[in-house]
């Protein structure tokens, strides 16, 4: 049988903004070649034209998909490192609260996409419904549903509203209870095991060699987390663990995300308990002194790197982003060699690639 070229996307129910060029032989995919760039806006170029403060909403939309709060932290870290600015303690806590809430929302989103890939629509709806609860909390805190511009240079923009703490704790309790339902419905489902276990196995050595990051790397059994390796903000004050997987298959990649949600709930409880009183913002000069900095944060999809070259003006000379999805992308053609066509969506979604993030 001859090899057929199959073009999947960008108009396709599963691929989102990607296009895959598949070499298909019968029902077997021999090779996958991703075609990206459908959401390329040139943020790195645009950032050179805008001031540091104007850049905030632009940079946030690199990953406005689900994780804008976690994404922004790295940029602010870099600027504050260059300025030598010490952020008030309360602001740090609030930043962490926003970032961790966002991580929960992002992982729930990943879980629902995952169940779509296997064809279980019920589990598409349930996590989305619970994600709305988290988004409500974030809306209460920041005033927006998915793009916040909440964290700003030198602190955060708003303080915690009244009653937020109690509401948050209540909803976290509910989410924790709800996770059990997810396990029953999805993770312990025999058919789901058939579809995801031993599919797309990423060996730890390969994962490191290819430069895969985040939950995907941890699912392969490599314990790497920026929050532990070089703690930023106030992550060194919390007691939490890094969940890792055993086999590095698609199932593990989802399970690690669910366990991370549990850890995030854990962190949030501690943060809400210990949050100190004080100012939430420190005045920051508009000009960043000359120099360069490379900072890394653990966004929901993995390590997010920012490299800023400042030339002593109000605008960055060069802003380089190293987003997690772009670094995970290389695992996709690596894993999609000689797999059945039915496994392509599972592997693709299990890596949790977000096209915005890849293309910038």
């Amino acid at each position: 049988m001859s090899v057929m070229k199959l073009s999947m996307g960008p108009q396709h129910p599963i691929t989102g903004h990607f296009r895959f060029i598949l070499d298909v032989d019968g029902d077997l995919v021999l090779k996958l070649e991703p075609d990206i760039g459908y959401t390329h806006r040139g943020i790195e170029k645009l950032a050179e034209k805008r001031t540091y403060l104007q850049n905030l909403p632009v940079i946030e939309r690199v990953n406005s998909y689900c994780d804008s709060a976690g994404t922004m932290l790295g940029y602010l870290e870099a600027i504050e490192e260059l300025m030598g600015l010490e952020v008030p303690e309360r602001a740090k806590y609030l930043r962490v609260i926003a970032a961790e809430l966002n991580r929960i929302a992002s992982h729930l989103y990943a879980a629902c996409l995952f169940s779509v890939a296997t064809g279980l629509e019920t589990m598409l709806m349930w996590p989305i419904n619970d994600r709305e609860l988290v988004l409500d909390l974030l809306e209460k805190l920041t005033g927006q549903r998915i793009t916040y511009t909440y964290q700003t240079i030198g602190g955060v923009r708003f303080d915690m509203p009244e009653g937020f703490k109690e509401e948050a704790l209540k909803r976290l309790d509910y989410l924790e209870k709800r996770t059990e339902d997810y396990y029953k419905m999805l993770l312990w489902n025999h058919t789901f095991h058939m579809r995801t276990k031993k599919v797309g196995i990423l060996k730890p050595s390969d994962a490191i060699k290819l430069g895969v990051v985040g939950p995907n790397l941890r699912a392969s059994g490599v314990k790497v987390d920026v929050r532990k390796d070089e703690p930023y903000e106030v992550y060194d004050k919390f007691d939490f663990s890094i969940p890792t997987g055993k086999n590095g298959d698609s199932y593990d990649r989802l399970e690690v995300r669910f366990k991370e949600v549990e850890q995030s709930i854990n962190i949030l409880r501690q943060a809400l308990k210990d949050i100190p009183k004080g100012p939430i913002k420190k005045w920051a000069p508009p000009i960043v002194p000359k120099g360069e900095a490379y900072t890394r944060v653990e966004a929901a999809r993995g390590e997010f790197g920012y490299y800023i070259v400042a030339d002593g003006t109000m605008k960055p000379y060069r802003l380089k982003m190293s987003p997690p999805s772009f670094r995970n992308l290389i695992a996709l053609p690596h894993l999609c060699k000689n797999v059945p066509l039915g496994d392509i969506p599972v592997i693709y979604i299990s890596l949790d690639l977000i096209p915005m993030d890849v293309d910038r």
Partner: protein, 156 residues
């Protein structure tokens, strides 16, 4: 020949209202995300906001779809595909532009790879501003389109 029958059917004045009603309440949308309003597209289609209440649901094949949500900015690379998608859809078809970026380029007004407003390539029926618009705003956009369809081809 089937086309002729269809056209002659659609031109019957008496059935016009019924046909408009059918079109308005069964707007199936294409799976094509162009920009970062994508998660809100998910949110409006899924639990809590659930646009299936108004008959709008995402449908896998574009051959049966009547509605494109242009979700956010459109890059030049995507613009070609968007146009292709629009051309592949059968008549009658509608476009809703979601978000500032789809309306006028928004935040990306000076970007080298973003189309400044989707109306440069597609005929847009309803504009929904916001960055991103809340799911309620999407629903309002759908309702506005339904009102527009209900008046189609009738005397003013």
């Amino acid at each position: 020949m089937l086309e002729k029958i269809r056209k002659s059917f659609m031109n019957i004045k008496l059935l016009r209202k019924v046909f408009n009603w059918g079109r308005a309440w069964s707007l199936w949308s294409v799976h094509l995300e162009t920009g970062c309003c994508g998660p809100e597209d998910m949110a409006r289609a899924c639990a809590r906001f659930d646009t299936e209440r108004f008959g709008t649901l995402p449908f896998p094949t574009l051959r049966e779809c009547d509605l494109i949500f242009v979700t956010g900015f459109v890059t030049k690379k995507m613009a070609k595909r968007l146009k292709l998608t629009y051309e592949q859809m059968p008549e009658p078809k509608y476009v809703i532009a979601i978000g500032h970026c789809a309306i006028s380029g928004g935040l990306w007004w000076d970007s080298y790879s973003v189309v400044q407003g989707v109306d440069e390539i597609l005929p847009v029926d309803v504009y929904v501003p916001g960055c991103p618009p809340r799911p309620e705003a999407w629903i309002q956009g759908i309702r506005m389109l339904q009102e527009k369809i209900a008046k189609e081809g009738l005397k003013k």
